[in-house]
């Protein structure tokens, strides 16, 4: 069954939801890729997203893995173009207009108004991921630990995620 058209539809749609960051689209991504199209399971989605935080570059490149699973190399390419194309075109067009609107008073209003909404979307994405990722005392301790360390010290987040893989190995291997 050819999944490419569905991949393009889903990821082009998710693309325009990424206001404030990729995580804003996570609740919708879970529904579409897991519940509707069954390209992967919820734990797999969480795993790919989290591993993607250790990769360099834009932090949503894990979409490549979903595209590859569902549609091979073509699927991977289709997903990347669909996910980054629409917002890239939008940024290209809007940026010029936005600069000209520097004196327009509503410009500040839009920026100030979108800030809490995008933070809320990020948090909503975080909660819907936590449902699958924070399942007990140990995982909660890791999440809180990472949060506190990042707030207190200037550590590279990718290193912390890597260290947490080590903590996971020590904690969760069945004896």
């Amino acid at each position: 069954m050819n999944q490419i058209p569905a991949l393009i539809r889903v990821f082009a749609y998710l693309s325009i939801l990424t206001v404030g960051g990729g995580m804003a689209a996570f609740p919708e991504m879970k529904i579409l890729t897991v519940d509707v199209h069954h390209w992967l399971t919820f734990p797999q989605l969480i795993h790919l997203y989290s591993v993607g935080q250790m990769a360099p570059g834009p932090n949503m490149m894990m979409i490549v893995s979903i595209g590859q699973w569902a549609g091979g190399i073509l699927g991977a390419i289709a997903v990347v173009v669909a996910f980054f194309g629409p917002t890239a075109v939008l940024a290209f067009i809007v940026a010029k207009a936005w600069k000209k609107l520097e004196k327009w008073p509503w410009r500040t209003s839009i920026q100030q108004g979108l800030a809490p909404v995008s933070i809320g979307l990020l948090l909503a994405g975080c909660f819907s991921m936590a449902k699958g990722a924070v399942t007990g005392t140990e995982t909660a301790a890791i999440a809180v630990g990472v949060l506190l360390i990042l707030m207190q010290y200037k550590v590279n987040p990718a290193l912390l995620v890597l260290a947490s893989a080590g903590v996971g190995l020590l904690t969760f291997i069945p004896k």
């Binding site: 990729g22 990769a55 570059g57 932090n59 893995s65 100030q112 979108l114 800030a115 903590v167």
Partner: protein, 202 residues
């Protein structure tokens, strides 16, 4: 916002002069390097590379472009690549920038996806990934905290944050409807005449 934003590294005319000489290939290579080395978040690497090392844009432009990138849909990293590429060499510059910044991570996740599909059920990998996923939650929460400190301008903004979370996670309104509904309310709240009152920051 940032201290360094007030004193750009170069005079504007000097920056423009350097920018004029940049080739599409140079843009692609620079963003490819950023895409391959930016572990743990692209934005600091962008600044180091584009402002400090290459002088393609000055600090003021960088802050301006970043604030546009954050207001628009799309990831900061790719929006910045488009904006900087556009400034240097128009459409082709944008394409060179975004392809460069996405390519290394994309190839890596392509390989990771194949490996994970074959070995994801292994007990060791499941155990490590449990730790990784929990860490990712902590990482997103820290982004929420630092964005809140930087971007919020009014105490009432926390009501909009709560409303957004409840609409998505409890009422299951979906991201688009939530974005439009809460977004319009929040922008109206911050309408021009109201912008100065009761700010968190001076």
């Amino acid at each position: 916002m940032t201290e360094s934003a007030t004193k750009p590294a170069l005079q504007p005319d000097e920056t423009t002069a350097r920018a004029a000489a940049v080739s599409i290939w140079e843009i692609f290579l620079e963003f490819l390097i950023i895409g391959a080395t930016s572990f743990g978040g692209v934005v600091p690497y962008l600044r180091g590379s584009l402002v400090t090392k290459r002088h393609w844009i000055d600090d003021k432009e960088f802050v301006e472009m970043l604030s546009i990138s954050q207001s628009l849909p799309g990831l900061n990293a790719t929006n910045m690549a488009v904006l900087v590429g556009e400034k240097l060499r128009g459409v082709l510059g944008s394409i060179a920038g975004i392809v460069g910044v996405c390519l290394p991570g994309g190839l890596l996740m392509f390989a990771v996806g194949i490996f994970y599909r074959q070995h994801g059920e292994h007990v060791w990998i499941t155990a490590a990934l449990k730790g990784v996923a929990a860490a990712a939650v902590g990482l997103i929460l820290s982004t929420v905290v630092s964005l809140s400190k930087k971007a919020l301008t009014h105490n009432f903004d926390f009501v909009f944050i709560a409303a957004t979370v409840i609409a998505v996670n409890r009422l299951h309104l979906g991201v688009p409807r939530t974005l439009v509904a809460v977004g319009i309310l929040a922008v109206l709240f911050h309408r021009p005449c109201n912008a100065q009152e009761g700010s968190v920051k001076p």
